[in-house]
Symmetry: C2
Amino acid sequence: MRLRDENKELAIREKALGMIVEEGFDGLSMHKLAKAAGVSPATIYIYFKDRDDLIMQIFETENTRMTEITLDGFSPEMHFEEGLRIQWLNRARYCLENPERMHFMEQIRYSPFHERLQGSSKSTFIHAMRTWAQNAIARGELVPLPMEVYWSVAFAPLYQLVKFHMSRHGLPGSKKFTLDEPIMNQTLELVIKALTPQ
Amino acid sequence: MRLRDENKELAIREKALGMIVEEGFDGLSMHKLAKAAGVSPATIYIYFKDRDDLIMQIFETENTRMTEITLDGFSPEMHFEEGLRIQWLNRARYCLENPERMHFMEQIRYSPFHERLQGSSKSTFIHAMRTWAQNAIARGELVPLPMEVYWSVAFAPLYQLVKFHMSRHGLPGSKKFTLDEPIMNQTLELVIKALTPQ
DNA sequence: AGATAATAAAAGAACGTTCGTTTATTTTTG
DNA sequence: CAAAAATAAACGAACGTTCTTTTATTATCT
């Protein structure tokens, strides 16, 4: 028996992620990937069923990592403002410290892959978010809203800021935009103002 | 002299857009596209320099259409709330009436293509938006903010709602979400609350 | 302990297919 | 009939995947 070389699988995963980010899904070919990972094409098929399985598995791994970071230090019993602030910090941290992985996730999210993956993702995360929101509403800390409305106002602005931050050019006619803590807090205050009663 | 058949070019463009939406960028092959459009592969190269040029041109066309719809009935001199409401209606209209085209635009936006296209897009649109925001700030109708912060709060929630609307499954554990006018108005009110002084 | 059988990892070459694109030719029409 | 559109056929290259062989490692047996 010969043991699997974990470094090989890791190299394949990382290079694949990088290739997708830099060249898109067209850019990921098994031959080029094998060469980049220092591996034979056939070796990839020891670790992954096929090209789709490779992409799916990378997504699952990355999704898990993102979820863990997002929920770090968070609890559904938290007060609304505290919980939202922690979530924003966590999500921003993930995005800014892992720009390449973030890019990959976004590319998946807006590709036909995402529909296929929708069902497989864990709902514990969504459940935590939901009970947290419901608690906040019950306490009168949050305006009663459909989940989707609440979510759109609470988090979409943050991800748009991140997208501005990651794009090389800012808005045409602007300087390059950098998402720092003051900017984030300023935006967060607006969102809190929108979602808080009175 | 034989004239070009406009229907041919149109068929190529539409089928290509559809293929990208349904199968991603991998899914767009020139042979399959030719067959789908009822045309010889070589014919495509009469209208488009190469595969990339085809995608770019479709994007440019679609971008122009989207911009026109977005600015329909809008003027930079408008009061903030009126302008924002019109923009929301226009953008929502485009998204909901052209889900396939919207999907295409998003897929481009989150792919490596987008970086290449960034510079080519017209800045008149951005300019109109900017002066409108500056007017509103000068009138005290809008909190003074960096353009990116303002943009993120003003429009990102709408696009997130659209994304919920377009995804087949809602949030796990929810019913399918439908973006109707009451929901849109409710969200818009929150955004206005966030961006309006006091 | 040393030889060897067993087994899975890994590699390289090859599979048939499909890719994007071009060439040579025919068809259409001003 | 000239000229451009349109095509069928073909190009080499690259694709995803598999087949066959080699290599490395563990377990077993003497």
